[in-house]
């Protein structure tokens, strides 16, 4: 394990950025999101969760897929090049790291999504353990240890020092690049901080959400629960929850006529939208209750059914804090998990 004084992280970032692009939490107009590091970027080391999740780096909101060029009446089809930018993603929290496992299940399963795969291959993820969890956090419910994230490299912030430990080959390679800045670190201090964080995690208000009822065999019962109507009643049908969610992975494919040709791109879609999966005959989920139900059934029942029990929620709490009407997965788990209908 290596360490570096937090006062010198600037040097660390500069060093990393020498060899590849560096993305990390940056404050812009009062909001912290992943952005490219520059010497004058306002890097936020303390912010717990970025507003948008780390998935943006691998599955961006808009991705160009193919161009159609028109010359006279001829059309030429030009697939858009895959991203070849080598980059380091720094400061990913345990929950967002966990979300990559979920996304990998979707995008790296056959047929492999080449856009996603290219970005995954080119990216090295440096995670950071949490030190001050929020009341909206419930990653522990999904088996995530906020104190010990996965990733290519994991870091801890303890007593003014950044502790650094490579976990994978990619991580080792990155460590080689920056080793000169580092000194050896003391594992015991990190262990101490891990224990403290785990203790807080256990005491969080949402720490005891009960996932036991959400089993594949309960599909019909859950689907037909009368509670959905009440839960979805106030839903605005906006895409906030899906867009800030680190695991939501639905997209739409659209064409844009530039006047000289067509650019085909994909962009995030939201199952909360009224035109989600709009088919020739219309939409297959005509009311908001059905759309709302889809989102949570997918996260809690359908996805685990198809992926060895892996829920497609990681408990990051973004929907808890961002939903305009404060309706979120935690409330859904509680309501549906209760034994009896109210």
């Amino acid at each position: 394990m290596l360490k570096l004084s937090l006062n010198r992280v600037g040097d660390l970032f500069a060093k990393i950025a020498e060899a590849q692009a560096l993305y990390l939490p940056v404050e812009k107009a009062g909001q912290v999101d992943y952005d490219k590091w520059t010497a004058d970027a306002k890097v936020s080391m303390d912010h717990l969760n970025t507003a948008k999740s780390a998935k943006d780096l691998f599955f961006p909101q808009v991705e160009r897929m193919v161009d159609f060029k028109m010359e006279g009446k001829n059309i030429e089809i030009k697939p858009h090049a895959l991203s070849d930018e080598k980059f380091v993603l720094f400061g990913v929290r345990a929950c967002d790291m966990k979300s990559m496992e979920v996304l990998d299940k979707v995008f790296l399963a056959e047929p492999v999504d080449s856009f996603y795969a290219a970005r995954r291959m080119n990216g090295t993820v440096v995670t950071m353990a949490c030190s001050e969890p929020e009341e909206s956090c419930f990653c522990n419910v999904f088996g995530v240890d906020a104190a010990e994230p996965a990733g290519d490299v994991v870091t801890w912030k303890v007593d003014g020092e950044l502790y650094w430990k490579a976990l994978t080959e990619k991580g080792e390679a990155l460590t080689e690049q920056i080793k000169a800045l580092m000194e050896d670190g003391d594992e015991a201090k990190v262990e101490e901080s891990k224990a403290a964080v785990r203790e807080i995690m256990g005491k969080l208000p949402l720490a005891n959400l009960n996932l036991a009822p959400f089993q594949p065999e309960k599909l019909n019962e859950m689907f037909n629960s009368p509670k959905w109507a009440k839960l979805s009643e106030a839903c605005l049908g906006c895409g906030t929850c899906t867009f800030v969610c680190p695991t939501c992975q639905c997209y739409d494919i659209r064409d844009y006529d530039t006047g000289h040709g067509i650019q085909r791109f994909r962009c995030w879609d939201s199952c909360m939208y009224s035109d989600f999966t709009m088919m020739a005959h219309g939409t297959n989920r005509p009311d908001q209750m059905q759309r709302f139900r889809q989102r949570f059934m997918h996260k809690l029942i359908y996805f685990p059914s198809n992926n060895d029990g892996m829920y497609s929620c990681v408990g990051c709490g973004r929907c808890v804090s961002k939903c305009p009407i404060s309706m979120n997965i935690a409330k859904v788990i509680k309501a549906l998990g209760e034994d009896k209908d109210e």
């Binding site: 028109m70 006279g72 009446k73 006529d257 006047g259 000289h260 005959h281 219309g282 939409t283």
Partner: protein
């Protein structure tokens, strides 16, 4: 997919000298949808047109772009050409490469490049064109004239002369209007009754004209060619078919409290009355407000004295419903109320009168039988002061009065002054004026005659106040030319009162969704080019309801309105402009924003069953519906509509954006 032909015109050398027409035709070959291009010397010539027709047939074209002169010049020509070849006329687009290109540019390369872009733009628009069909709506061959003054009478007579049925609705018991109250008319000084009453008789006797006197329009529905009106025929309590107009009842009636409206309230009339001797119809009317029988159930003197047995106390209001193709507003005017101009003492002193009251005092059929006697003591006035511009030309923010010039006062004041001096040479007549405005045939000569021949004393200045001293009215005013303040001891003061639209105009305008201005004058469809039409199609303006006018102007406008009505009624069907707004009911949320900006009242909101993808069966929503017969296609509603439900056929959002895209490409 469209199959488009592009036809590039040389216009002789007008275009070809500056634009490489062949290059334009060649460039268009690469545009999506274009299957044929050519160029020719004169596309609008018979040769050019037949080439277009031939190409439409040979290449099975679905639409054509003609690159030529302005569409304002030949769009109609090429539309006809397209129709002759079996195309829809709205599948034609014009690229204006003459006025907007070859004529203003010198550099051939530059002009050619621009012509290509203009042609491409027209193609891009045409790609999204859809065939449009002009709608038709039947025209009901009957006109309604609201108001039975000289304007309404003249309009009705002209329409009837052309062979169409006309109904006149007049709220008073007789037609004739204001003109019937006048004594003489300027500048010829012929008697008003002598020229008006024959017209009134004509109107009554014309078999095409139906008079609804003592009647009011209650509601109007529909649109141009197809109005439906409800007319309330108020109960006269006299059977008009029996009444002979002998007027015995009017003399016997014991109720004498009602002011005689015809004489501007200068004397009283009976509760049963005929407004004046030449009234049309010459039928008595009972005013229930003053009728003793109506109040108490007793009296009945008129009934006893009526040899024709025409009195019918049980008569009820009657509602008549009729359909009309056109409606003419001829609601006229009234003098404004002067109660707030306390400086002139109108409300205090009976000898301060308005000009219209003075007309009655001078009139042989008036309360003084034509002898000029002042109201207070019925003495013969020796000194008369006329004041012009009373209540006219006031600033718009003034608490009373009107901001406009009432137009007729200068002339009738000159007339009054002249008549007084002629009839009573012993009088002194003074006129206070701010300006004397006499534009009109023989008008200035007339006013000069009053000064030069009749010695009327015109004083440049305004009256500040009128007070009473003994039996004299002390008129204090300024004489600006002599820079002095003068006081004239007068026997009578006559105020040339501003005129305003009849109060019924506002209400009727709203029934017709016709617009009125801030002073309640009716608004014209175009101030210069369509002065006798209201912006609401099928509604026409006759006489003073549109703005102050004298008699000859009123008659001229009345005939003009009639000719417009005749033009409309001569059609069996109205062909409507197909480039009108259309609301997509699936998108319309019923917010009524479009309705608020429509200048024609063409948009109505209706509960309609909505059928479409994602719409539950049996859904009924309140949505906008555009009446294509009324819509003129300005497009104001399309921008007001936030949901994009409202679009304009022929100029759709998509079409205009395609044009933008093609230009900016």
């Amino acid at each position: 997919m469209q199959r488009i032909g592009v036809f590039v015109c040389w216009c002789g050398s007008n275009i070809a000298a500056t634009v490489d027409v062949a290059a334009v035709a060649e460039a268009m070959k690469n545009e999506p949808g274009v299957v044929y291009t050519t160029d020719y010397q004169y596309m609008c010539s018979e040769g050019g047109q037949s080439r277009i027709k031939q190409a439409i047939k040979d290449y099975n074209l679905t639409g054509i772009v003609v690159c030529s002169c302005s569409p304002r010049m030949h769009e109609a020509t090429f539309r006809k050409t397209a129709v002759a070849a079996g195309l829809n006329p709205y599948m034609v687009e014009i690229a204006n490469i003459r006025e907007h290109c070859s004529w203003i540019h010198k550099d051939k390369e530059e002009a050619t490049e621009k012509a290509v872009i203009l042609a491409r733009t027209a193609v891009a628009k045409l790609m999204l064109n859809a065939p449009l069909t002009s709608g038709t709506s039947p025209v009901i061959k009957r006109a309604l004239v609201i108001g039975g003054g000289i304007a309404g009478i003249q309009t009705a007579l002209d329409i009837a002369d052309a062979g169409y049925e006309v109904d006149i609705v007049e709220k008073r018991p007789t037609i004739g209007g204001r003109m019937a109250q006048l004594d003489k008319t300027f500048p010829t000084l012929d008697c008003a009754a002598c020229i008006l009453t024959p017209k009134m008789v004509d109107a009554a006797s014309n078999e095409k004209i139906t008079l609804y006197t003592y009647s009011e329009v209650e509601s109007v529905k529909g649109f141009v060619g197809n109005f439906s009106a409800k007319i309330r025929k108020k109960a006269r309590f006299v059977d008009a078919t029996k009444c002979t107009g002998c007027a015995v009842c009017t003399e016997k009636c014991p109720s004498r409290k009602a002011k005689n409206e015809f004489n501007m309230g200068l004397n009283n009339r009976g509760a049963i009355y005929i407004p004046f001797a030449q009234a049309i119809p010459n039928v008595a009317t009972i005013d229930p407000e003053y009728c003793i029988h109506a109040k108490t159930g007793k009296c009945g003197i008129c009934q006893k004295n009526c040899s024709a047995g025409a009195i019918d106390f049980d008569q009820k209001d009657e509602i008549i419903e009729r359909e009309y193709g056109a409606i003419v507003m001829a609601t006229g005017f009234q003098p404004i109320k002067l109660d707030n101009f306390e400086e002139f003492g109108y409300a205090q002193y009976p000898d301060v009168v308005t000009s219209l009251e003075f007309e009655r005092l001078m009139n042989a059929a008036g309360p003084t039988k034509g002898t000029l006697l002042r109201p207070s003591d019925l003495s013969h006035p020796k000194t008369l002061v006329f004041v012009q511009c009373v209540g006219s030309r006031c600033s718009a923010d003034a608490k009373d009065g009107k901001p406009y010039c009432s137009k007729i006062c200068c002339m009738y004041t000159a007339k009054h002054a002249m008549l007084v001096r002629e009839k009573y040479p012993d009088t002194d007549v003074h006129v206070f004026y701010i300006d004397v405005r006499t534009p009109g045939k023989n008008f200035d000569e007339f006013q000069r005659r009053a000064v030069e021949q009749y010695g009327v004393d015109y004083i440049k200045g305004m009256v500040g106040k009128v007070t009473k001293k003994g039996d004299k009215l002390m008129v204090q005013g300024s004489d600006l030319l002599n820079n002095e303040q003068i006081t004239i001891a007068a026997d009578m003061v006559i105020l040339a009162t501003a005129i305003e639209p009849d109060p019924s105009a506002k209400q009727i305008a709203s029934l017709l969704t016709a617009s009125i201005d801030t002073n309640n004058w009716m608004t014209e469809a175009h101030a210069k080019l369509r002065p006798v039409e209201s912006p609401t199609a099928g509604v026409f303006l006759s006489g003073v309801c549109q703005g102050p006018k004298d008699v000859p102007e009123t008659v001229a406008q009345a005939s003009a309105a009639a000719s417009k009505v005749i033009g409309l009624l001569s059609k069996d069907h109205m062909v409507t402009n197909p480039c009108v707004a259309q609301s997509n009911e699936l998108l319309c949320n019923g917010c009524t924003t479009c309705e608020k900006v429509c200048p024609y009242g063409a948009i109505e909101y209706k509960d309609k069953p909505i059928v479409g993808p994602g719409v539950p069966r049996g859904t009924i929503r309140r949505v906008a519906e555009v009446n294509p017969a009324i819509c003129q296609g300005c497009g104001a509603c399309t921008v007001a509509c936030p949901s994009g439900a409202m679009d304009l056929k022929g100029f759709t959002n998509r079409q205009i954006m395609a044009e933008v895209d093609a230009i900016c490409k």
